[in-house]
C-alpha cells in the first residue's frame, strides 16, 4: 500500500518551503514512488532553467527620469501633509460633512437644557379651563381614549421636573425692582402670577411669584442679580415623572372600564341595571376628572418654573463714619467670588465642549485610519 502522490507539494519542497511534518511525509513518499522522484527532478531542472534567466538592468536614463519627476512633485513627499490629496468632489463632500458636524455640535452646545427646550410651551393666555374644554370635547370621538390624554402626554418620555426657586433681593427702590421683574418674566416668555406690597417699620418690601418656561429658568434666576443684591437664593427641583406616568396609566384603566360600562349599557334593557351602570359611570368619570386635574397641575408646574422673589429695600446705612470698611470688604469679597465663579464657568464650558468633541474626534480618527489603510492597500 502506498500513500497518494505528493505532486502538489513538490514545488514547495524544491524551495525548502515545507514545514517539518510535510517534508518528512514527502521524503517518505519519494523513497517508494518512482513517478514522484521523476517529477521532482524535472521540477529541479525547470527551476534551474528559469533561474538562469539573467536579471535585466534598468535602461540608461531611468534613474535620472525618476529624479526629475520626483523633484517636480515637490521638495517634500507627502510626509508633512496632514490632509489627504483628494479629488475635488471628495474634498467638497468632506468639507460639507465637517460643517454639518460642527453645526450639530454648536446647536447641542447652545441649546439651554437639552430636549426640554423642544417641549411645547404653554403660555399664560391658555388657561387650564380652556385646555380642559378642548379635552372634553375631543373625548366622545376618541376610541380607547387615545386623544383624551393627559396634557403633554406626547412628551412623557421626558423627565417632568417641578422647579422652584426662592430668592431674596435687596434693592434701592422697590418700584424699580417690580418693573424689572415684570420685564424679566415677559422676556423669558413667562408672567408674574402674584405680587404683594407692604411696609414694615417704614421699610418697603414686596414679594412676587414669577412663572417662566422651564428652559429659561436658569437664565431668569441668574438675571435676578441685575435687580439688586441677592441676599439669599435657594433652588429646588422635584421629579414628578413617575407620578405623572402613574396618573396616565390609571386614567387609561378607568377609561377602559368606562368603555365596558357603555357597552353594557347598550345591551341591557333593565331599568335597575341601567341605573346602576349610570351611577358607576358617574363615579368613574369623576375619578378621571380628578386624576386628569392632578396631571394637568403637574404638567403646568413642570412646564412653568416658579420663582418666589422677596424684594426688600436697602436700609440706608448711616453709620456716620467716613468710610464703611466692612461694606468695602464685603463688596471686594463679592467681586472676588463673582470672578472666580465666572472663571470656573468658563473652564467648565471648555471642558464640556471638549468632552462633547471626543466622540466626533474618535469618529474622525477611525475614519482617517480606515482611509489611510484603504489608500495603502491600493498601492
Amino acid at each position: 500500500m502506498r500513500s497518494m502522490h505528493v505532486t502538489d507539494a513538490l514545488s514547495a519542497y524544491v524551495d525548502g518551503a515545507l514545514n517539518e511534518g510535510e517534508r518528512a511525509h514527502v521524503e517518505r513518499h519519494l523513497e517508494t514512488c518512482e513517478d514522484c522522484r521523476h517529477h521532482l527532478s524535472v521540477l529541479r531542472d525547470l527551476v534551474t532553467t528559469v533561474r538562469s534567466v539573467a536579471p535585466v538592468a534598468a535602461p540608461e536614463g531611468f534613474r535620472a527620469q525618476v529624479r526629475a519627476r520626483v523633484e517636480q512633485i515637490g521638495a517634500r513627499p507627502a510626509a508633512t501633509r496632514w490632509w489627504p490629496r483628494l479629488p475635488m468632489p471628495w474634498r467638497v463632500l468632506s468639507a460639507a460633512a465637517a460643517v454639518l458636524v460642527i453645526g450639530i455640535f454648536a446647536v447641542n452646545l447652545l441649546r439651554p437644557e437639552g430636549p426640554v427646550a423642544m417641549r411645547e410651551f404653554r403660555g399664560p393666555g391658555e388657561s387650564p379651563a380652556v385646555t380642559g374644554d378642548r379635552m372634553r370635547s375631543a373625548a366622545p370621538s376618541a376610541p380607547e381614549g387615545a386623544q383624551r390624554a393627559i396634557p403633554g402626554q406626547n412628551t412623557l418620555a421626558l423627565r417632568r421636573v417641578i422647579r422652584t426657586a426662592q430668592v431674596d433681593v435687596e434693592v434701592d427702590k422697590v418700584e424699580d425692582a417690580a418693573e424689572r421683574l415684570l420685564r424679566i418674566a415677559e422676556e423669558a416668555g413667562g408672567f408674574i402670577a402674584d405680587s404683594s406690597y407692604a411696609e414694615t417699620n417704614g421699610v418697603p418690601h414686596a414679594s412676587f411669584v414669577l412663572r417662566v418656561p422651564v428652559p429659561r429658568f436658569a437664565g431668569v434666576v441668574a438675571s435676578l442679580d441685575g435687580v439688586g443684591r441677592v441676599a439669599r437664593r435657594s433652588i429646588h427641583g422635584q421629579d414628578v415623572t413617575e407620578e405623572f406616568v402613574d396618573l396616565e396609566a390609571r386614567v387609561r384603566n378607568l377609561e377602559r372600564h368606562e368603555q365596558r360600562l357603555l357597552t353594557f349599557m347598550d345591551r341591557t334593557t333593565k331599568v335597575s341595571e341601567l341605573l346602576a351602570i349610570e351611577q358607576e359611570l358617574t363615579r368613574v368619570r369623576g375619578e378621571v376628572e380628578s386624576l386628569t386635574g392632578r396631571a394637568r397641575y403637574l404638567s403646568n408646574q413642570s412646564d412653568l418654573a416658579t420663582l418666589s422673589v422677596a424684594v426688600r429695600q436697602k436700609t440706608k446705612k448711616t453709620s456716620g463714619a467716613l468710610w464703611d470698611f466692612g461694606a468695602t470688604l464685603q463688596r471686594m469679597q463679592a467681586a472676588f467670588v463673582a470672578t472666580v465663579r465666572q472663571l470656573l464657568a468658563g473652564v467648565e464650558t471648555i471642558a464640556v465642549a471638549a468632552s462633547a468633541l471626543i466622540p466626533v474626534l474618535a469618529f474622525a480618527a477611525v475614519g482617517w485610519v480606515l482611509f489611510r489603510r484603504w489608500r495603502m492597500a491600493r498601492i
Binding site: H38, V47, S52, A58, F62, V66
Partner: protein
C-alpha cells in the same frame, strides 16, 4: 547609509536620499516590471510609476515591513495596472516558439534559451506569473511573497506550483533529461 536612514531622509524631502534608494533598487524593480509586463516599454512605465508612487506615499511607510518588500508590492501593482490597461490587446499566444521578438531593440534577450524562458513566463496567467517572478527571478521567500501580495502562504504555494507545471509543459523540449526516455 542604510535603507532606513535613506527612507527617513526622503520622508523629510531629501531628493538626493531618494535618488540613492532609486539607485539601489532600480535594476531589481525594472527587472520585476519587465518580467510581469513582458516588454521593456511597459516595464519602463510601470517601474517609473512604482518609484513615483513610493515617493508620494513615503509618509505611509513606517518601517514595519522592509522597504524592499514595500517597494516590491508597489511595483507589482504598478506592473499589473499596466498589464490590465493593455488587456484590450490580444494576449500572448501559448505557442511561444512561433513568436519572434516584437522588440528588436531588446538586447538582453540575446540567447535563445533566455528568450524562450522569458516568453513562457510572459505567457503564464498573471497571478502565477507574478508568483513565479517573485520567487524564481527576484528570489523572495514564500513569506515575503505572501506579504507583498497580501495573500495566504498556501495560495502562494499553489500559484507557484501551478505556474511551474505550466512552464514545464511549455518548456518541455528544453530539458531532455526530463523527456520520455527516462520514464521508459
Amino acid at each position: 547609509m542604510n535603507d532606513a536612514e535613506l527612507v527617513a531622509r526622503s520622508q523629510q524631502g531629501d531628493t538626493d536620499a531618494y535618488d540613492q534608494l532609486v539607485g539601489t533598487y532600480q535594476h531589481r524593480i525594472f527587472s520585476l516590471a519587465y518580467r510581469i509586463t513582458g516588454n521593456r516599454e511597459d516595464a519602463w512605465d510601470a517601474a517609473q510609476e512604482a518609484f513615483l508612487k513610493a515617493y508620494r506615499n513615503l509618509y505611509g511607510f513606517h518601517g514595519r515591513a522592509a522597504f524592499s518588500t514595500w517597494l516590491h508590492r508597489i511595483a507589482v501593482n504598478a506592473a499589473l495596472d499596466v498589464v490590465r490597461r493593455r488587456a484590450a490587446q490580444p494576449p500572448v499566444p501559448l505557442d511561444v516558439t512561433l513568436r519572434s521578438l516584437d522588440d528588436p531593440a531588446d538586447e538582453v534577450m540575446r540567447s535563445d534559451l533566455q528568450q524562450r524562458v522569458h516568453r513562457a513566463i510572459a505567457a503564464l496567467p498573471v497571478e502565477q506569473r507574478v508568483a513565479i517572478v517573485l520567487r524564481d527571478l527576484q528570489g523572495l521567500r514564500y513569506e515575503e511573497i505572501a506579504g507583498v501580495l497580501r495573500i495566504p502562504i498556501g495560495t502562494v504555494r499553489s500559484r507557484i506550483s501551478r505556474g511551474r507545471e505550466m512552464l514545464r509543459v511549455m518548456l518541455a523540449d528544453l530539458a531532455p533529461a526530463s523527456g520520455e526516455g527516462r520514464t521508459a
